[in-house]
Protein backbone atom coordinates (compact mmCIF):
# COMPACT_ATOMS: atom_id res chain seq x y z
CA UNK A 1 0.00 0.00 0.00
CA UNK A 2 1.37 3.38 -0.97
CA UNK A 3 -0.96 5.68 0.99
CA UNK A 4 0.74 8.28 3.19
CA UNK A 5 -1.57 7.54 6.08
CA UNK A 6 -3.93 4.71 7.05
CA UNK A 7 -6.87 5.56 9.30
CA UNK A 8 -8.78 3.09 11.44
CA UNK A 9 -12.33 4.26 12.14
CA UNK A 10 -14.42 3.06 15.12
CA UNK A 11 -11.67 0.88 16.50
CA UNK A 12 -8.18 1.69 17.70
CA UNK A 13 -7.03 -1.93 17.80
CA UNK A 14 -5.39 -3.29 14.67
CA UNK A 15 -6.03 -6.79 16.00
CA UNK A 16 -9.79 -6.27 15.63
CA UNK A 17 -9.64 -5.45 11.91
CA UNK A 18 -9.09 -8.94 10.51
CA UNK A 19 -7.77 -9.02 6.94
CA UNK A 20 -7.35 -5.24 6.95
CA UNK A 21 -5.01 -5.58 9.90
CA UNK A 22 -2.89 -8.11 7.99
CA UNK A 23 -2.46 -5.59 5.16
CA UNK A 24 -1.68 -2.78 7.61
CA UNK A 25 0.98 -4.90 9.32
CA UNK A 26 2.87 -5.25 6.01
CA UNK A 27 3.04 -1.54 5.21
CA UNK A 28 5.40 1.16 6.40
CA UNK A 29 4.11 4.59 7.40
CA UNK A 30 1.70 5.73 10.05
CA UNK A 31 -1.61 4.17 11.08
CA UNK A 32 -3.87 6.36 13.18
CA UNK A 33 -7.31 5.75 14.70
CA UNK A 34 -10.45 7.85 15.01
CA UNK A 35 -12.45 6.04 17.66
CA UNK A 36 -14.77 6.46 20.62
CA UNK A 37 -14.09 3.18 22.44
CA UNK A 38 -12.39 3.24 25.82
CA UNK A 39 -8.64 2.86 25.26
CA UNK A 40 -6.75 -0.21 26.45
CA UNK A 41 -3.17 -1.45 26.16
CA UNK A 42 -3.68 -2.48 22.52
CA UNK A 43 -4.98 0.96 21.48
CA UNK A 44 -2.96 2.82 18.82
CA UNK A 45 -2.64 6.60 18.71
CA UNK A 46 -5.01 8.94 16.90
CA UNK A 47 -8.09 11.03 17.61
CA UNK A 48 -9.58 9.14 20.52
CA UNK A 49 -12.72 10.46 22.18
CA UNK A 50 -14.16 7.94 24.59
CA UNK A 51 -16.48 10.67 25.91
CA UNK A 52 -18.49 10.49 22.66
CA UNK A 53 -21.35 7.95 22.51
CA UNK A 54 -20.58 7.33 18.82
CA UNK A 55 -17.64 7.66 16.46
CA UNK A 56 -20.05 9.34 14.03
CA UNK A 57 -20.39 12.29 16.39
CA UNK A 58 -16.63 12.47 16.93
CA UNK A 59 -16.13 12.39 13.17
CA UNK A 60 -18.54 15.32 12.78
CA UNK A 61 -16.26 17.42 14.97
CA UNK A 62 -13.14 16.25 13.11
CA UNK A 63 -14.67 17.27 9.78
CA UNK A 64 -15.82 20.58 11.24
CA UNK A 65 -12.31 21.35 12.46
CA UNK A 66 -11.02 20.68 8.95
CA UNK A 67 -13.40 23.48 7.89
CA UNK A 68 -15.05 21.21 5.36
CA UNK A 69 -18.69 22.09 4.65
CA UNK A 70 -21.07 19.42 5.93
CA UNK A 71 -23.00 18.60 2.78
CA UNK A 72 -25.93 16.17 2.62
CA UNK A 73 -23.53 13.51 1.27
CA UNK A 74 -21.39 13.91 4.39
CA UNK A 75 -24.30 14.36 6.83
CA UNK A 76 -26.04 11.16 5.70
CA UNK A 77 -23.34 8.63 6.76
CA UNK A 78 -22.53 10.60 9.92
CA UNK A 79 -26.18 10.54 11.01
CA UNK A 80 -26.36 6.83 10.12
CA UNK A 81 -23.29 6.12 12.26
CA UNK A 82 -24.72 8.09 15.19
CA UNK A 83 -28.14 6.46 14.95
CA UNK A 84 -26.71 2.95 14.75
CA UNK A 85 -24.11 3.31 17.49
CA UNK A 86 -26.50 4.96 19.94
CA UNK A 87 -29.20 2.36 19.12
CA UNK A 88 -31.66 5.04 18.03
CA UNK A 89 -30.52 7.66 20.54
CA UNK A 90 -30.74 5.20 23.39
CA UNK A 91 -27.12 5.13 24.56
CA UNK A 92 -26.55 8.88 24.58
CA UNK A 93 -25.06 9.21 28.07
CA UNK A 94 -27.67 11.94 28.63
CA UNK A 95 -25.45 14.34 26.70
CA UNK A 96 -27.46 17.21 25.13
CA UNK A 97 -24.65 17.72 22.59
CA UNK A 98 -25.60 14.46 20.84
CA UNK A 99 -28.92 15.99 19.81
CA UNK A 100 -27.29 19.27 18.80
CA UNK A 101 -25.09 17.40 16.34
CA UNK A 102 -28.05 15.33 15.10
CA UNK A 103 -29.97 18.55 14.52
CA UNK A 104 -27.12 20.03 12.47
CA UNK A 105 -26.84 16.85 10.38
CA UNK A 106 -30.57 16.83 9.61
CA UNK A 107 -30.34 20.53 8.80
CA UNK A 108 -27.50 19.68 6.41
CA UNK A 109 -29.71 17.18 4.61
CA UNK A 110 -29.45 13.81 6.37
CA UNK A 111 -32.66 11.89 5.68
CA UNK A 112 -33.38 10.90 9.28
CA UNK A 113 -36.59 9.03 8.47
CA UNK A 114 -35.10 7.09 5.56
CA UNK A 115 -31.97 6.15 7.50
CA UNK A 116 -34.04 4.90 10.44
CA UNK A 117 -36.21 2.85 8.11
CA UNK A 118 -33.17 1.24 6.49
CA UNK A 119 -31.25 0.53 9.69
CA UNK A 120 -34.07 -0.34 12.08
CA UNK A 121 -37.21 -0.65 9.99
CA UNK A 122 -37.44 -4.30 9.19
CA UNK A 123 -36.16 -7.69 10.21
CA UNK A 124 -35.41 -10.63 7.94
CA UNK A 125 -37.94 -13.43 7.69
CA UNK A 126 -35.26 -15.94 8.67
CA UNK A 127 -34.35 -13.91 11.74
CA UNK A 128 -38.02 -13.91 12.80
CA UNK A 129 -38.21 -17.67 12.23
CA UNK A 130 -35.07 -18.17 14.32
CA UNK A 131 -36.62 -16.12 17.14
CA UNK A 132 -39.82 -18.09 16.81
CA UNK A 133 -38.06 -21.45 17.09
CA UNK A 134 -35.91 -20.20 19.96
CA UNK A 135 -38.98 -19.08 21.90
CA UNK A 136 -40.66 -22.43 21.30
CA UNK A 137 -37.76 -24.22 23.05
CA UNK A 138 -37.01 -21.56 25.69
CA UNK A 139 -37.47 -22.30 29.38
CA UNK A 140 -38.05 -19.71 32.08
CA UNK A 141 -37.12 -20.32 35.70
CA UNK A 142 -37.21 -18.44 39.00
CA UNK A 143 -40.25 -16.42 37.99
CA UNK A 144 -38.74 -15.51 34.64
CA UNK A 145 -35.42 -14.24 36.01
CA UNK A 146 -33.45 -17.04 34.33
CA UNK A 147 -34.13 -17.86 30.66
CA UNK A 148 -32.38 -20.53 28.64
CA UNK A 149 -32.68 -22.48 25.44
CA UNK A 150 -30.77 -25.04 23.43
CA UNK A 151 -29.85 -24.06 19.87
CA UNK A 152 -29.61 -27.13 17.67
CA UNK A 153 -29.40 -27.74 13.96
CA UNK A 154 -33.22 -27.87 14.04
CA UNK A 155 -33.32 -24.28 15.31
CA UNK A 156 -31.34 -23.08 12.32
CA UNK A 157 -32.44 -25.55 9.61
CA UNK A 158 -33.03 -23.81 6.30
CA UNK A 159 -32.31 -20.34 7.65
CA UNK A 160 -29.80 -17.85 6.30
CA UNK A 161 -28.59 -15.65 9.13
CA UNK A 162 -25.76 -13.13 9.05
CA UNK A 163 -23.07 -12.90 11.70
CA UNK A 164 -24.85 -10.14 13.62
CA UNK A 165 -28.07 -12.16 13.69
CA UNK A 166 -26.25 -15.26 14.97
CA UNK A 167 -24.49 -13.17 17.62
CA UNK A 168 -27.67 -11.49 18.78
CA UNK A 169 -29.60 -14.73 19.26
CA UNK A 170 -28.99 -14.59 22.99
CA UNK A 171 -30.58 -11.11 23.09
CA UNK A 172 -33.89 -12.63 22.00
CA UNK A 173 -34.13 -13.98 25.55
CA UNK A 174 -32.23 -11.10 27.14
CA UNK A 175 -34.71 -8.49 25.86
CA UNK A 176 -37.65 -10.11 27.63
CA UNK A 177 -39.17 -8.32 30.64
CA UNK A 178 -37.83 -9.59 33.94
CA UNK A 179 -35.01 -11.74 32.53
CA UNK A 180 -31.86 -11.16 34.57
CA UNK A 181 -29.68 -13.93 33.19
CA UNK A 182 -30.09 -15.67 29.85
CA UNK A 183 -28.06 -18.47 28.37
CA UNK A 184 -27.97 -20.36 25.09
CA UNK A 185 -26.51 -23.82 24.63
CA UNK A 186 -25.36 -23.91 21.02
CA UNK A 187 -24.99 -27.47 19.82
CA UNK A 188 -24.92 -27.24 16.03
CA UNK A 189 -21.31 -26.70 15.09
CA UNK A 190 -18.84 -29.47 15.94
CA UNK A 191 -18.54 -31.68 19.00
CA UNK A 192 -18.40 -28.85 21.54
CA UNK A 193 -21.38 -27.10 23.07
CA UNK A 194 -20.91 -23.33 23.03
CA UNK A 195 -22.46 -21.72 26.08
CA UNK A 196 -23.36 -18.01 25.73
CA UNK A 197 -24.44 -16.14 28.86
CA UNK A 198 -25.68 -12.61 29.39
CA UNK A 199 -26.59 -10.77 32.57
CA UNK A 200 -29.12 -7.93 32.42
CA UNK A 201 -29.10 -7.38 36.15
CA UNK A 202 -26.48 -7.15 38.86
CA UNK A 203 -25.25 -10.73 38.66
CA UNK A 204 -21.91 -11.42 37.00
CA UNK A 205 -21.56 -14.35 34.61
CA UNK A 206 -17.85 -14.33 33.74
CA UNK A 207 -17.12 -16.18 36.99
CA UNK A 208 -19.59 -18.89 35.96
CA UNK A 209 -17.95 -19.02 32.52
CA UNK A 210 -14.57 -19.44 34.18
CA UNK A 211 -15.87 -22.34 36.27
CA UNK A 212 -16.82 -23.98 32.96
CA UNK A 213 -13.39 -23.32 31.45
CA UNK A 214 -14.30 -20.15 29.54
CA UNK A 215 -14.31 -16.43 30.28
CA UNK A 216 -15.49 -13.03 29.14
CA UNK A 217 -16.87 -9.78 30.48
CA UNK A 218 -18.86 -9.50 33.73
CA UNK A 219 -22.20 -9.24 31.89
CA UNK A 220 -21.35 -11.19 28.71
CA UNK A 221 -19.36 -14.39 28.90
CA UNK A 222 -19.18 -17.90 27.53
CA UNK A 223 -17.49 -21.26 27.46
CA UNK A 224 -17.01 -24.10 24.98
CA UNK A 225 -17.47 -27.46 26.67
CA UNK A 226 -16.78 -30.92 25.26
CA UNK A 227 -19.79 -32.87 26.53
CA UNK A 228 -23.30 -33.79 25.39
CA UNK A 229 -25.91 -31.03 25.30
CA UNK A 230 -27.93 -32.44 28.23
CA UNK A 231 -24.83 -32.61 30.37
CA UNK A 232 -23.78 -29.05 29.48
CA UNK A 233 -27.23 -27.81 30.49
CA UNK A 234 -27.24 -29.84 33.71
CA UNK A 235 -23.81 -28.52 34.67
CA UNK A 236 -24.47 -24.85 33.89
CA UNK A 237 -27.96 -24.15 35.20
CA UNK A 238 -27.26 -24.81 38.91
CA UNK A 239 -24.38 -22.31 38.77
CA UNK A 240 -26.66 -19.65 37.29
CA UNK A 241 -29.55 -20.42 39.63
CA UNK A 242 -27.15 -19.85 42.52
CA UNK A 243 -26.31 -16.39 41.12
CA UNK A 244 -29.99 -15.46 41.35
CA UNK A 245 -30.85 -17.07 44.66
CA UNK A 246 -32.32 -14.62 47.20
CA UNK A 247 -29.57 -15.46 49.68
CA UNK A 248 -26.89 -14.27 47.27
CA UNK A 249 -27.52 -10.63 46.26
CA UNK A 250 -24.84 -10.87 43.55
Amino acid sequence: MSADLALLIDTAEIGRTGAVGDVLAKRTGPVLAIDHHAPNDRTIDGILGSNFPSTGELMFHVINRLEVDITADIAEPLYSAMLYDTAQFRYVRNDPEVFQVASLLVQAGADAEGIARHLFGTISKDSMLMQSRLMSTAKFELGGRLAWSPVTSNTLAGLKLDRDEIRSMVDVLGNIDGVEICVLFKDYDGPKVKISMRSRGKATVNDVAEQLGGGGHPKAAGADVLMPLDEAIAKTLPLLRAKLSPSDPK
Copy 2:
Protein backbone atom coordinates in the same frame (compact mmCIF):
# COMPACT_ATOMS: atom_id res chain seq x y z
CA MET B 1 -66.82 18.90 37.24
CA SER B 2 -66.12 22.38 38.46
CA ALA B 3 -62.85 23.13 36.61
CA ASP B 4 -62.74 26.39 34.64
CA LEU B 5 -61.19 24.69 31.66
CA ALA B 6 -60.80 21.11 30.43
CA LEU B 7 -57.82 20.33 28.18
CA LEU B 8 -57.57 17.37 25.82
CA ILE B 9 -53.96 16.41 25.14
CA ASP B 10 -52.83 14.48 22.04
CA THR B 11 -56.28 14.31 20.55
CA ALA B 12 -58.71 17.00 19.50
CA GLU B 13 -61.67 14.66 19.15
CA ILE B 14 -63.86 14.23 22.21
CA GLY B 15 -65.26 11.06 20.61
CA ARG B 16 -61.85 9.38 20.95
CA THR B 17 -61.61 9.87 24.71
CA GLY B 18 -64.04 7.19 25.88
CA ALA B 19 -65.27 7.60 29.45
CA VAL B 20 -63.50 10.97 29.73
CA GLY B 21 -65.58 12.22 26.81
CA ASP B 22 -68.78 11.18 28.59
CA VAL B 23 -67.79 13.29 31.59
CA LEU B 24 -66.83 16.23 29.38
CA ALA B 25 -70.18 16.09 27.58
CA LYS B 26 -72.01 16.61 30.90
CA ARG B 27 -70.11 19.71 31.97
CA THR B 28 -70.53 23.34 31.01
CA GLY B 29 -67.54 25.53 30.24
CA PRO B 30 -64.84 25.33 27.63
CA VAL B 31 -62.94 22.26 26.42
CA LEU B 32 -59.79 22.95 24.44
CA ALA B 33 -57.25 20.64 22.81
CA ILE B 34 -53.46 20.63 22.58
CA ASP B 35 -52.74 18.23 19.75
CA HIS B 36 -50.51 17.50 16.78
CA HIS B 37 -52.87 15.30 14.74
CA ALA B 38 -54.17 16.54 11.41
CA PRO B 39 -57.51 18.29 12.04
CA ASN B 40 -60.75 16.88 10.66
CA ASP B 41 -64.42 17.83 10.94
CA ARG B 42 -64.66 16.44 14.49
CA THR B 43 -61.69 18.48 15.75
CA ILE B 44 -62.38 20.94 18.57
CA ASP B 45 -60.55 24.23 18.96
CA GLY B 46 -57.32 24.71 20.89
CA ILE B 47 -53.58 24.78 20.26
CA LEU B 48 -53.33 22.59 17.20
CA GLY B 49 -49.95 22.06 15.56
CA SER B 50 -50.11 19.35 12.94
CA ASN B 51 -46.63 20.41 11.78
CA PHE B 52 -45.14 18.90 14.96
CA PRO B 53 -44.18 15.20 14.87
CA SER B 54 -45.24 14.84 18.50
CA THR B 55 -47.55 16.56 20.96
CA GLY B 56 -44.66 16.43 23.44
CA GLU B 57 -42.69 18.87 21.30
CA LEU B 58 -45.70 21.15 20.86
CA MET B 59 -46.25 21.08 24.62
CA PHE B 60 -42.63 22.13 25.17
CA HIS B 61 -43.31 25.31 23.20
CA VAL B 62 -46.59 25.93 25.03
CA ILE B 63 -44.82 25.69 28.40
CA ASN B 64 -41.99 27.88 27.15
CA ARG B 65 -44.46 30.58 26.08
CA LEU B 66 -45.98 30.47 29.56
CA GLU B 67 -42.47 31.39 30.76
CA VAL B 68 -42.41 28.40 33.07
CA ASP B 69 -38.92 27.05 33.76
CA ILE B 70 -38.40 23.61 32.24
CA THR B 71 -37.32 21.61 35.28
CA ALA B 72 -36.25 17.97 35.20
CA ASP B 73 -39.75 17.00 36.39
CA ILE B 74 -41.23 18.75 33.36
CA ALA B 75 -38.52 17.68 30.90
CA GLU B 76 -38.88 13.99 31.75
CA PRO B 77 -42.50 13.47 30.57
CA LEU B 78 -42.01 15.79 27.58
CA TYR B 79 -38.99 13.79 26.40
CA SER B 80 -40.92 10.55 27.01
CA ALA B 81 -43.81 11.83 24.90
CA MET B 82 -41.47 12.88 22.08
CA LEU B 83 -39.53 9.62 22.12
CA TYR B 84 -42.68 7.49 22.09
CA ASP B 85 -44.58 9.44 19.45
CA THR B 86 -41.62 9.67 17.07
CA ALA B 87 -40.84 5.96 17.64
CA GLN B 88 -37.32 6.72 18.87
CA PHE B 89 -36.76 9.72 16.59
CA ARG B 90 -37.89 7.77 13.56
CA TYR B 91 -40.90 9.82 12.47
CA VAL B 92 -39.29 13.25 12.75
CA ARG B 93 -40.26 14.60 9.31
CA ASN B 94 -36.57 15.45 8.90
CA ASP B 95 -37.12 18.53 11.05
CA PRO B 96 -33.89 19.67 12.80
CA GLU B 97 -36.00 21.47 15.42
CA VAL B 98 -37.06 18.11 16.91
CA PHE B 99 -33.48 17.45 17.97
CA GLN B 100 -33.03 21.01 19.25
CA VAL B 101 -35.95 20.48 21.62
CA ALA B 102 -34.67 17.03 22.63
CA SER B 103 -31.30 18.58 23.41
CA LEU B 104 -32.89 21.24 25.63
CA LEU B 105 -34.93 18.61 27.48
CA VAL B 106 -31.87 16.46 28.16
CA GLN B 107 -30.03 19.60 29.25
CA ALA B 108 -32.92 20.28 31.64
CA GLY B 109 -32.51 16.85 33.19
CA ALA B 110 -34.55 14.33 31.20
CA ASP B 111 -32.97 10.90 31.67
CA ALA B 112 -32.84 9.96 27.98
CA GLU B 113 -31.23 6.56 28.58
CA GLY B 114 -33.60 5.56 31.36
CA ILE B 115 -36.69 6.66 29.44
CA ALA B 116 -35.59 4.70 26.36
CA ARG B 117 -34.97 1.62 28.48
CA HIS B 118 -38.43 1.85 30.05
CA LEU B 119 -40.35 2.56 26.84
CA PHE B 120 -38.44 0.45 24.34
CA GLY B 121 -36.04 -1.72 26.30
CA THR B 122 -37.84 -4.98 26.76
CA ILE B 123 -40.75 -7.01 25.49
CA SER B 124 -43.05 -9.23 27.51
CA LYS B 125 -42.52 -12.97 27.45
CA ASP B 126 -46.11 -13.47 26.33
CA SER B 127 -45.65 -11.02 23.48
CA MET B 128 -42.58 -12.96 22.32
CA LEU B 129 -44.53 -16.23 22.56
CA MET B 130 -47.35 -14.71 20.51
CA GLN B 131 -44.85 -13.64 17.85
CA SER B 132 -43.30 -17.08 17.92
CA ARG B 133 -46.62 -18.85 17.40
CA LEU B 134 -47.64 -16.38 14.70
CA MET B 135 -44.40 -17.00 12.79
CA SER B 136 -44.89 -20.75 13.05
CA THR B 137 -48.25 -20.47 11.23
CA ALA B 138 -47.32 -17.63 8.85
CA LYS B 139 -47.24 -18.18 5.10
CA PHE B 140 -45.26 -16.12 2.62
CA GLU B 141 -46.26 -15.80 -1.02
CA LEU B 142 -45.04 -14.01 -4.14
CA GLY B 143 -41.42 -14.11 -3.04
CA GLY B 144 -42.27 -12.81 0.42
CA ARG B 145 -44.28 -9.79 -0.75
CA LEU B 146 -47.52 -11.17 0.72
CA ALA B 147 -47.52 -12.53 4.28
CA TRP B 148 -50.51 -13.95 6.11
CA SER B 149 -51.44 -16.00 9.12
CA PRO B 150 -54.50 -17.23 10.94
CA VAL B 151 -54.82 -16.22 14.60
CA THR B 152 -56.78 -18.82 16.52
CA SER B 153 -57.39 -19.53 20.18
CA ASN B 154 -54.27 -21.74 19.98
CA THR B 155 -52.18 -18.72 19.03
CA LEU B 156 -53.24 -16.89 22.17
CA ALA B 157 -53.76 -19.77 24.63
CA GLY B 158 -52.40 -18.96 28.06
CA LEU B 159 -51.04 -15.56 27.05
CA LYS B 160 -51.79 -12.22 28.67
CA LEU B 161 -51.49 -9.49 26.06
CA ASP B 162 -52.46 -5.85 26.43
CA ARG B 163 -54.49 -3.93 23.88
CA ASP B 164 -51.42 -2.47 22.16
CA GLU B 165 -49.86 -5.93 21.84
CA ILE B 166 -53.06 -7.37 20.34
CA ARG B 167 -53.30 -4.45 17.93
CA SER B 168 -49.69 -4.70 16.83
CA MET B 169 -49.87 -8.42 16.03
CA VAL B 170 -50.20 -7.64 12.34
CA ASP B 171 -46.94 -5.63 12.51
CA VAL B 172 -45.07 -8.83 13.38
CA LEU B 173 -45.51 -9.78 9.73
CA GLY B 174 -45.45 -6.20 8.43
CA ASN B 175 -41.99 -5.53 9.87
CA ILE B 176 -40.38 -8.35 7.90
CA ASP B 177 -38.05 -7.46 5.01
CA GLY B 178 -39.77 -7.48 1.65
CA VAL B 179 -43.34 -7.80 2.94
CA GLU B 180 -45.58 -5.39 1.03
CA ILE B 181 -48.97 -6.60 2.21
CA CYS B 182 -49.69 -8.56 5.37
CA VAL B 183 -52.97 -9.87 6.66
CA LEU B 184 -54.18 -11.66 9.76
CA PHE B 185 -57.34 -13.76 9.95
CA LYS B 186 -58.44 -13.51 13.58
CA ASP B 187 -60.75 -16.35 14.47
CA TYR B 188 -60.78 -16.45 18.25
CA ASP B 189 -63.52 -14.07 19.33
CA GLY B 190 -67.06 -14.92 18.29
CA PRO B 191 -68.47 -16.33 15.06
CA LYS B 192 -66.96 -13.70 12.78
CA VAL B 193 -63.45 -13.76 11.34
CA LYS B 194 -61.76 -10.37 11.73
CA ILE B 195 -59.49 -9.65 8.78
CA SER B 196 -56.70 -7.11 9.44
CA MET B 197 -54.68 -5.90 6.47
CA ARG B 198 -51.67 -3.61 6.20
CA SER B 199 -49.80 -2.32 3.19
CA ARG B 200 -46.13 -1.40 3.52
CA GLY B 201 -45.73 -0.60 -0.15
CA LYS B 202 -47.70 1.28 -2.78
CA ALA B 203 -50.71 -1.02 -2.85
CA THR B 204 -53.93 0.11 -1.18
CA VAL B 205 -55.92 -2.32 0.95
CA ASN B 206 -59.01 -0.31 1.90
CA ASP B 207 -60.54 -1.16 -1.48
CA VAL B 208 -60.04 -4.86 -0.73
CA ALA B 209 -61.56 -4.36 2.71
CA GLU B 210 -64.56 -2.68 1.10
CA GLN B 211 -65.02 -5.63 -1.27
CA LEU B 212 -65.24 -7.79 1.86
CA GLY B 213 -67.77 -5.48 3.50
CA GLY B 214 -65.31 -3.54 5.67
CA GLY B 215 -63.22 -0.39 5.26
CA GLY B 216 -60.39 1.67 6.66
CA HIS B 217 -57.40 3.71 5.58
CA PRO B 218 -55.50 3.12 2.32
CA LYS B 219 -52.62 1.32 4.09
CA ALA B 220 -54.50 -0.09 7.12
CA ALA B 221 -57.93 -1.62 6.69
CA GLY B 222 -60.06 -4.55 7.76
CA ALA B 223 -63.33 -6.38 7.56
CA ASP B 224 -65.37 -8.69 9.80
CA VAL B 225 -66.80 -11.58 7.82
CA LEU B 226 -69.33 -14.19 8.93
CA MET B 227 -67.87 -17.36 7.42
CA PRO B 228 -65.50 -20.17 8.39
CA LEU B 229 -61.79 -19.35 8.66
CA ASP B 230 -60.82 -21.37 5.57
CA GLU B 231 -63.42 -19.61 3.50
CA ALA B 232 -62.35 -16.16 4.71
CA ILE B 233 -58.77 -16.95 3.74
CA ALA B 234 -59.79 -18.36 0.35
CA LYS B 235 -61.88 -15.30 -0.41
CA THR B 236 -59.32 -12.68 0.68
CA LEU B 237 -55.99 -13.92 -0.65
CA PRO B 238 -56.84 -13.76 -4.38
CA LEU B 239 -57.86 -10.11 -3.96
CA LEU B 240 -54.53 -9.30 -2.29
CA ARG B 241 -52.47 -11.33 -4.77
CA ALA B 242 -54.07 -9.29 -7.53
CA LYS B 243 -52.89 -6.07 -5.83
CA LEU B 244 -49.31 -7.33 -6.05
CA SER B 245 -49.39 -8.87 -9.51
CA PRO B 246 -46.73 -7.45 -11.84
CA SER B 247 -49.41 -6.38 -14.32
CA ASP B 248 -51.03 -4.10 -11.74
CA PRO B 249 -48.52 -1.54 -10.44
CA LYS B 250 -50.96 -0.49 -7.70
